[in-house]
Amino acid sequence: MKQRWLYVLLVLSLAVNAGALGFYGVSKYRDWRRNQRYLSKEFKPGTTWHQLDRLFADLKKSRAPHFDTLHAATREIGLLALEPNPDSARLNAALDRIARATREEHRLMRVPNRAFLGLHRPEKLEFWRNRFKVEYDSILRVDSGTAVQPEEER
């Protein structure tokens, strides 16, 4: 009798093990299939996840110093605003650092952005371009002065 319960417990335990392993394997396979489908639908043949990850990792790495500058300058402005007699030279220097870091941050984004778009299939790129054009046009409509001039000249 005792031995029979031992067998029942063993069968149950093995069934749970098999079920857990099977579930894990199937879900992993499904994830992989879904990712591959997305990759082949959106990007040119031969594009890998590693390539995309690398692109964003490089972007993150190159932007990091500018992020740090931005945070430090923001903090300095925050503290200066709390002082009773803030130093205007320090304020101007912090504001200049913010302007420079923002410019660099946006400039650095251009290369990986273009590289990312360059990895797309031509028909997909056209699709995203057309979708973005709607947003672009609507922003230009809101902006009455559509002529492209730098901000300082306004």
Partner: protein, 139 residues
């Protein structure tokens, strides 16, 4: 099968069950922690990326600057879609984004300097806290 081997197999299988359970619990706990961390990161990013003026009178000017920033950032993104991006527009957009960022932070600074003129002490305290949070200054 001899009972001795049944017991060994059962023990191994039960250890496997326990391992699966612990791995599952760890994965759940990690995903919970990660989603919590992600939520906090999004919140702090939203606050630091969209700093708000702490005095209402400055809002129209800030909104106008935000609109200009949005317009130039869209211009930059639009250039990314072009086969031959226009370097003059690129430069103009980058200069404008930088200039707008400077103006925005100057306005933020001015709004904080004007906070002492706000009569409502509750509002002042709330805005003071927001200021510290968005500028990355601890309590």
């Amino acid at each position: 099968m001899r009972p001795k081997w049944v017991v060994v197999l059962l023990v191994v299988s039960l250890v496997g069950n326990a391992l699966e359970l612990s791995l599952y619990a760890r994965a759940e706990w990690r995903s919970h922690q990660e989603s919590q961390k992600f939520g906090e990161w999004v919140q702090s990013l939203a606050v630091s990326k969209n700093p708000k003026v702490v005095v209402k009178e400055f809002e129209p000017r800030m909104q106008a600057l935000e609109q200009r920033k949005n317009r130039w950032e869209t211009e930059l993104q639009w250039q990314d879609f072009q086969q031959q991006p226009d370097s003059a527009i690129d430069k103009a957009a980058l200069d404008s984004v930088a200039s707008i960022a400077r103006q925005k932070y100057e306005l933020l600074y001015q709004s904080r300097r004007a906070l002492s003129a706000v009569d409502d002490p509750k509002l002042r305290t709330r805005m003071e806290r927001r200021w510290r949070q968005q500028m990355g200054i601890g309590e």
